[in-house]
Symmetry: C2
Subunit: 484 residues, 2 copies
C-alpha cells in the first residue's frame, strides 16, 4: 500500500491496472519484448504472485527483462502465519534469475537498482524484489543510482572463423536462429550466408520477437509437431545454434525420440543469449564472401470470399495487415495459416507464446501497445486460450490501446484433440467432452462489450474481412469474433 | 492425455471442465468443504498448477482434503528442458502436505491411494501427485486398495477437565471456535457452556464451513479489522482455542501489534485440527452442568424498498434466502451486511475465503453445488474479486448448477481504499486510480450472458428483490448484478 501511495510522488511512473495478476505479468513481458527494457509488476503476496506465474514462466522462456515487486507481510508479522502468508521466496526462485527480500528500508534503493541491472544483464531474466510492508513504510530509504550491467559479448573470432569454414566445407549445415538473431539485420545476414554457402536456415519454433516480411527473407520456423520437425532437420550434418537451443520435441510421445537432432549430426553453438549473435552473423557473411542479399517483393493475398475458415480468415488478415503491425500469435491451431498469409506482406513483428503457457496473448498485446503506441497490435487468439486471461480486454479499454483482437472460435481445444490422437490415448465421450468448448457456446462479443471493448461477430469470409477492416480503422481496442 | 483417455474406462468418474485452473482448484475446495472428502484436479504441468495455486492457498488454509494430479513431462524428457518444463515439485511442496512423483507405472496405484489417505488424515490437507507422461502411459500399473487413515483423536480427559475448571473459575474466559467446531452440535454446546459459566464465545474471522441460523445460537465472528478485534478481545483473561488459531491481525499496521491476544491473557489449546473438538465441547458442557440450551427464533427482514445499498441488498437476501442454502461469501466489504441480515434466518451454511486470496467465490460455488445438488447456492461476490475467475460462470452453465450469484458492483476495490487509509499511505490520483473499477464500467450481465448464464441488473431495492426472487426460483445458474 505504501508502494501504491508512493506512485504519486515519483514523476514519470505510468501505472496500468489489470483485473488479474496474469494480465500484469503478461503485459510486462509484451512491454519488454518491444521496448527492450523491463516493466515492473506489483503483485500482492504469494497468491498474487501465483496468479502471475504462468505468464512469468513464458517471460522466463522469452528471455526478457522483467522486475516483479511482490508485497509481503511486515518482517515481524510473518512469524504469526496470517492467512495470506506463504513461502514466496522459494516459489519466486523457480522463475527468477535474481530474488531478494530486503530487511531494512536503507537497502531498498540498492535492491531496486540491482533488480533492474540483473534483469538487463544478458541473457536477460526476471528479477523478483520481495518487499515486506514495514521495510516499505520505514523511514531510512534512499534513492539509488542505476547500476551498470554488461553488454552482449562479441563471439570469439576463432569460433566465428571455424563456423565460417564449416559452412564452406560442402557438408550439409543448418543455422537455427532464435532470440536476438530473429531481427532484420541478422535474418538478412543469415539469408546471405545461406545463398553463398548453400546452408539451410530455420527459426526456432517459438520466438519472443521475430521481425518478418516487408522485404525480409522468408525463413521457415521449426515445426511444433515433432514429426514435421524431424523431416525439416533430416540429413543435416552440422546444426549451428545462433541464440537458439538444440531442438527437442515439445512433448514426449510413446516410441519417439525427444531429441530432434538427427543421428550423426553435430551440434555447434555459435552464440548463446549472452553473445552478440547479429555481429557474429555479419562477420561470417563477410568471411564467406556473401553477396548483398535479395529484397523479397512484398505481396498480399486478395480479400477472401465464401466460407469463414482458418484459411480464409488468414487471407483476410494478410490482405489488411497494417504496415508496422505487431502480431501476437496465440492462435494455436489457427495461427499457422496467418503466418503463411502474411509472410510476404508489409513489415511486422511476430510475438509467440514462448513457454507453452496459454493465456498470454491478450496481456502481451497490452504491453506491446504501451511500448509501441504508434503501431497497430493484431492479436490472434484461440478461443480456449483467450479465456485464461479474458480480463485483459478491460485494461485494453481503460488504456485505450490500439489493439485489434481476432478470436478464432472453433468451440474446442483443437490442439488437445490432436495431442490426444498423437499419444494414442482412448477417445471416449468423457475425454472428448473435456476438449469441447460448446455447451454452452461462448459469446465473445458479449464478453468484449461487458469489458468495454467494441466487438463484431463474423460467420462468412466477407463479413470477417469487413469487420476486421472496421476494427483496424479504429485507434482503440476492438474484437472480431470469427465463427469457424 | 492418457489420464484424460482413461476417464472413460473407470466407472463413476464425474468430469467437470473449467476454462482456467483456478476454477478447478476452487471448485475442488468447495466440494471438499461440503462433501468432507476430496475431489481431484487435473492440472497441466507447472503453469497449469501455478494457475490453480491461489485457490490451493485458500484450500490449504481451509484444511480441506484435496488431491491434485499434475501431469508432467515424461521422466526421460525432463532433461531436455522443453518449453513447458519447470520445477513443479519445489512449488508443489509449498502448499501440499503430501507430494509424490512416481517414477514407475507400478507405483501409480499405491501413490494415488496414499494421496487420498494423506489428504483425509486429520487435520486434512492437499496431496499433489505429479504424474510423468511415460509413467502414465506405461504398462505395469495396477489398481490399489484404498488406504486407511486416522480419525480425529479424543481430547485428553485431563485437558478437558482442566479447561472445564477454568471456565467455572469466574475469571473471564473466551472460547474461540473454528474448523470442526463451527458445526451445529459444537456451536450449541459452546452456547450452553457460555450460558452456564458466563464464558464468551467467538468464531474465527474466516471459517471454511460455518453452520448458522435456523435456531442455532448467534455467535459473532472475530472482526477482520484488527481495531475491532482488539475491542472484542479486551479484558479476556483466558483465551481457549477450539480448532482455531491464536488471533493475529490480517495485515501488520504501523504502530499496532500483530498479536491480538490482550496483554495478560493466557492462551489455552483445547483442540487442534487433529482432535475431536465437538466431542470435547460436549464433554465440557456436561462437566459444567450446562442447561439444554435455547432455540433461537427464526426471523427474516422484510423485503426492502428504496435505494439499492449494501444494506438493502442484504435485507433482500435475508428476506429470500432459501432454507438449506449454501452461502459463498466473497462479498468482501458487502458480505458483512448479508451476514447480519441472515443471522436469524433459516438454517444455512456459510463458506468464507480462508486464505485471503480473492477469486475463489465463483469456483467454490461450483464445488458446493456438485457436492450438495439439492441445496441452493447463493454466491455473494464483490465485483473486483469476481473478475479473478469470472470464467467459472461458464462451468456453472455447462453443469446446470443451482447457483445464484449476486454481484455487488460498487466499481471499486473498496476494501483496498480502506487499507490505503489504514496504513496511512498517500492517497494521490494514481494510487486511487489503481483502486477504481470504473473507466470502463464492467457490465456483469453481458459477461454472464457471454458465458451462458442468465442475468439481470438491478438499480433499486425493489428491482433487486424481484430479480433475486426470479433467480432463486430457477434451478440453473443465474446472476443478479446489484448496482450500488
Amino acid at each position: 500500500m505504501h508502494f501504491v501511495g508512493a506512485l504519486d510522488n515519483v514523476p514519470g511512473m505510468r501505472v496500468i491496472l489489470g483485473l488479474f495478476e496474469g494480465v500484469a505479468t503478461g503485459a510486462a513481458d509484451g512491454y519488454a519484448r518491444m521496448a527492450g527494457r523491463p516493466a515492473a509488476t506489483l503483485l500482492h503476496l504469494g497468491p498474487g504472485m501465483a496468479n502471475g506465474m504462468a505468464n512469468l514462466h513464458n517471460a522466463r522462456r522469452a528471455s526478457v527483462p522483467l522486475v516483479n515487486i511482490v508485497g509481503d507481510h511486515a518482517t515481524y508479522h510473518s512469524q504469526y502465519d496470517a492467512p495470506l502468508n506463504s513461502d514466496i521466496e522459494t516459489v519466486a526462485r523457480t522463475f527468477s534469475g535474481w530474488t531478494q527480500r530486503p530487511s531494512r528500508p536503507a537497502d531498498i534503493g540498492q535492491a531496486a537498482a540491482a533488480a533492474v541491472a540483473a534483469a538487463m544483464s544478458p541473457p536477460r531474466s526476471i528479477s523478483t524484489l520481495i518487499l515486506p510492508a514495514d521495510v516499505s513504510w520505514g523511514e531510512d530509504a534512499l534513492p539509488a543510482e542505476p547500476q551498470a550491467y554488461p553488454a552482449r559479448q562479441d563471439v570469439r573470432a576463432d569460433l566465428v572463423g571455424s563456423i565460417a569454414k564449416l559452412l564452406m566445407s560442402g557438408e550439409r549445415c543448418l543455422l537455427l536462429l532464435g532470440g536476438s538473431a530473429a531481427r532484420a539485420g541478422a535474418l538478412r545476414d543469415a539469408a546471405r550466408i545461406a545463398a553463398a554457402t548453400r546452408t539451410d536456415v530455420l527459426l526456432e519454433t517459438s520466438v519472443a520477437r521475430l521481425e518478418r516480411a516487408g522485404g525480409l527473407p522468408p525463413i521457415a520456423r521449426l515445426n511444433y509437431r515433432a514429426g514435421t520437425a524431424v523431416r525439416q532437420l533430416a540429413g543435416v550434418r552440422h546444426l549451428i545454434l545462433v541464440d537458439s537451443r538444440s531442438p527437442v520435441a515439445f512433448f514426449a510421445y510413446p516410441g519417439r525420440s525427444s531429441d530432434l537432432v538427427p543421428e550423426g549430426c553435430e551440434v555447434h553453438v555459435l552464440s548463446t543469449g549472452t553473445d552478440d549473435a547479429a555481429g557474429a552473423l555479419a562477420d561470417i557473411a563477410e568471411r564467406v564472401g556473401a553477396g548483398p542479399g535479395q529484397l523479397v517483393p512484398v505481396s498480399r493475398p486478395a480479400r477472401p470470399a465464401g466460407a469463414l475458415t482458418p484459411s480464409s480468415a488468414a487471407e483476410a488478415i494478410g490482405a489488411l495487415l497494417p504496415e508496422g503491425a505487431i502480431v501476437i500469435d496465440e492462435g494455436v491451431t489457427s495461427g499457422g495459416y496467418v503466418a503463411a498469409a502474411t509472410a510476404a506482406g508489409p513489415r511486422h513483428d511476430w510475438l509467440n507464446v514462448t513457454g507453452g503457457a496459454i493465456g498470454i496473448g491478450l496481456p502481451l498485446a497490452i504491453g506491446a501497445a504501451v511500448a509501441a503506441p504508434d503501431r497497430k497490435i493484431v492479436g490472434l487468439q484461440a478461443d480456449g486460450s483467450s479465456m485464461y486471461t479474458i480480463q485483459a480486454l478491460w485494461t485494453q479499454a481503460r488504456e485505450h490501446l490500439d489493439t485489434t483482437t481476432v478470436i478464432f472460435n472453433n468451440r474446442q481445444y483443437s490442439i488437445l484433440r490432436s495431442e490426444l490422437k498423437r499419444v494414442g490415448a482412448t477417445e471416449g465421450p468423457k475425454a472428448l467432452d473435456l476438449l469441447d468448448l460448446s455447451r454452452p457456446d461462448i459469446d465473445f462479443t458479449a464478453l468484449a462489450r461487458g469489458l468495454g471493448v467494441e466487438a463484431e461477430r463474423a460467420t462468412t469470409a466477407e463479413e470477417f474481412t469487413a469487420a476486421l477492416d472496421r476494427a483496424l480503422a479504429d485507434d482503440g481496442p476492438r474484437l472480431v469474433e470469427a465463427i469457424l
